[in-house]
Symmetry: C2
Subunit: 203 residues, 2 copies
């Protein structure tokens, strides 16, 4: 039988092929076992109750990873279309009390990659080992960049570095979450935004 | 010829075997191509000039990863004996202007794993793929924890979380670097330390 791949899953296969050639039988399994989901903004993709969290490839929209901390929450990362999210949860066997969530920041469309499928792919295809490793490099690199970012000594430096490395975050992320991501108060971020927009007018 | 493994390299092989069984021929290659180095404290292990940085397995002592930022520096991670360091540099093909260093915080002994050996191991042994992936999970998990840590809303919360997750850092790291790692001023860290030591006396 000839499985006609849906457009969206082709996008995911193309994404994986930046790491390694995906065998046809593996691609067919991915096509069969993944689902496209539509989500309104502010909807949880993953919560601490998910003991076997799925991975999600974002087709359109954006999401944030956050932790609940007493009565507030802490945005520790942001991701937009064209990225796989959910590895954070995979990587936290001992979360030391953290309660981690992923939620949409915009109306979004994503490909859900079930936890069981990920495990099956690792078992059946050595290519999945290579994909896993290279995907982890990307995520580790991003995490290290975020670590550097938050340790920059002034709020302005942090904001300017983020605009340089991830300009889309600046335009698309609600100020409340962006301030948390950048480790500054909302008032500080508002003031800096006003300052930066004045600079642009003057150029 | 029977190669008698030195004690120190056995420690490294044991470390790698938590991830996967290391074939004998791979172990022999590691034993042959690695070197133990002794370093005084405040000595650079890696600098931005190293285009093909080596990995280091720390046998004794501790090190920090830092970036130079204008006239100051930013400590973004700390590692102690029993860990492999140097992946950060591997993962930064585009560093966006960062200048990353690794230096010893104490007199240390480490096994140098040359860049060329790492590449050879990846080429010759599928086990190295598994080691790479599992080692990256550990590092990614640690990086995510550091991300969460620095975004906690108060200096006291950050310090208490670090004492909970990495108590050794508290006792062994010079205050200057620890303050940078925790994203607070030295004065704040001193004040919190005094407060915490009073609590302990009172218990």
């Amino acid at each position: 039988m000839n499985v006609k791949p849906q457009e969206h899953v082709k996008v995911l296969i193309n994404y994986l092929e930046q790491f390694v050639k995906v065998p046809e039988v593996m691609a067919k399994l991915i096509i069969r076992e993944t689902t496209v989901i539509e989500l309104k903004k502010r909807k949880h993709l993953v919560s601490p109750l998910d003991l076997k969290p799925n991975l999600y490839f974002i087709l359109t929209g954006s999401v944030r990873g956050f932790d609940r901390d007493d009565h507030t929450d802490i945005t520790s990362w942001i991701a937009i279309e064209g990225q796989i999210v959910g590895l954070t949860l995979y990587s936290s066997p001992t979360a030391h009390g953290r309660r981690q969530y992923i939620e949409t920041l915009e109306d979004s469309r994503a490909i859900m990659i079930p936890n069981a499928l990920v495990n099956t792919l690792f078992t059946l295809f050595p290519e999945m080992g290579t994909i896993g490793r290279k995907l982890l490099w990307l995520h580790y690199y991003d995490a290290e960049e975020r670590n550097y970012l938050t340790r920059l000594s002034s709020a302005e430096k942090r904001l300017r570095r983020m605009i340089h490395t991830h300009p889309q975050f600046y335009y698309r992320t609600p100020i409340k979450y962006l301030a948390s991501y950048l480790g500054m108060r909302m008032e500080t971020l508002s003031r800096l935004r006003a300052q930066i927009s004045t600079e642009k007018v003057m150029v």
